[in-house]
Amino acid sequence: MRELTYRDALREALREEMVRDKTVFLLGEDIGRYWSGAFKVTKGLAEEFGDERVRDTPISESAIIGVAVGAAITGMRPVAEIMFGDLTTLAMDQICNQAAKICYMFGGQTTVPLVVRTPFGAGVNIASHHSQSLEAWFMHTPGLLVAAPSTPFDAKGLLKTAIRGNNPVMFFEHKLLYPIKGEVPEDDYTIPFGVADVKIEGEDATIFATLYMVHKALAAANELRKQGISVEVIDPKTLVPLDKQAIIKSVKKTGRIVIVTEDCKTAGVSAEVAAIVAEEALDYLDAPIKRVAEPDTPIPFSPPLEQFVIPNEKTIIKAVKEVL
């Protein structure tokens, strides 16, 4: 099958949806013909669809999302780009108080078909304001859906589902994933939210991992396999809705779980997954739940400092061995 980068898969989804549906349009800082987005996801789209539908905005994150909300409740399907996930902080009211709550507080009178694309993740030495992973904040806000694709295939299929749906979707990418390649069909396909992937089956322990950590978990699993340890790796693909049953089913099979995420440990994504396992599958556990996450610090700049805080293959392997 044809291979595409994660970046190109995202662009293909945007392009195909813009061709299919005239109400789909893009807005964000430097996404247009002059820069094509900080990570080049929108390259060529302004040339093809024009500056009206691929709209460069002022540096005004709050208004970018607010404008997208206003357009979404009046017949359009905006896809807003926030250049770095850290900058969602500037638009929190519009995301969490407006987009997330409008359907509910107006009694279901309107829907908010809005997608907010933004990259998270550390590892490229750009320090505390461009490297965070803040997924948990949005999981904690009812009304939002949260997607977190780890492969080019998932990126394209989930983005199409997000654009076609009627709920606000926080679509989290990872800046280290943009160049990775994977198989992507040329046909039109969508991927349902709330259905996890079992990336590899295993018997001895389950690793739950998200975004770029899926790839580190897979590398760790391959290494462990060489040592005779069989690990099952689960990628939820979407955090809201979260495929609880897939997690519980795997824990029932392996009796052990290591949760690997790139956000801070305290009240993070890993805490929620651990709570689900504790509430719904405690009796099946043969060892305590183990979490591999970032320590509760901002992301530091200097390479050795930064590498120290990001979970890696070694820390994952160590955690798996601790639960065996």
Partner: protein, 318 residues
Amino acid sequence: MPTKEKLIEMYRQILRIRHFEEKVYELYGQNLVPGTIHLYVGQEAVAAGVCANLRKDDYITSTHRGHGHCIAKGADLRKVMAEILGRKTGYCKGKGGSMHIADFSIGMLGATAVVGAGIPIAVGAGLSIRLRGTDQVVAGFFGDGASNQGTFHESINMAAIWSLPVIFVCENNLYAMGTRQSVVMKIENIADRAVAYGIPGVTVDGNDVLAVYEATEDAVDRARHGEGPTLIECKTYRHKGHSRFDPATYRPKAEVEEWLKKDPIPRFKAKLQEMQMLTKQEAEKLEQEVILAVEEAVKFGTESPFPAPEEALENVYA
């Protein structure tokens, strides 16, 4: 000058708002209104003067002090009242309440209780109009307090650079909660801020229905013809406190008295009579109709059931 029909319609709207709000005040005195209330009494000329220029398919966005905006845009009094009373038959099935009323069937895109948060949403509706290629317009209502939010700056700038069909209506009632405008702004006229965005800004007497109407008429005309946004500042005054239990003691007595003399309702009534557009009998008949309609809304609201508790779990997602 608006047509006679339009003039009478505006008079009817300010009366509807006044009687409705006075009734809400009375009902919460009887503990029938849960939570808090931000009454529009005193500011009626703004909503009526602006909305008289709008078509049913035009949009408005509103604020925590939003009952008047809903009513002027044409909302059903019964469903507004039922929502304020937390009933299932309200516009939002009891999920929004006084600060979150919306009626999408008449382009009322909802009230937000976060000060300044509705301004970018109004601009988004304006962008949507542009992209869909219709000739609708949007009026975004907000207060003097909201004009100090970042959203005010970000939103007006965006609407200006893209020439969107948005009328920014700043209701300057001189106080953001208990804080006087002079404490939080160096300028006297908020409309002066329009200069910074390269758009027209006008300050009008917000207690004069005709002044508001005429300023909005120009702004709507420009917006419908692709000439971009306008900032209209309407100087007005709330007759009651900020919210439910606020006696508004921070306002000097003389100032309150001065503004009560400028009450938009007797002023407009006298003007209409002077223009020989409204006889005493017609005025009485009209007011009786309004009182009956408000009574009917109260009856509908108070007799409506509360939602079932588990309905709290519905509508989180579409």
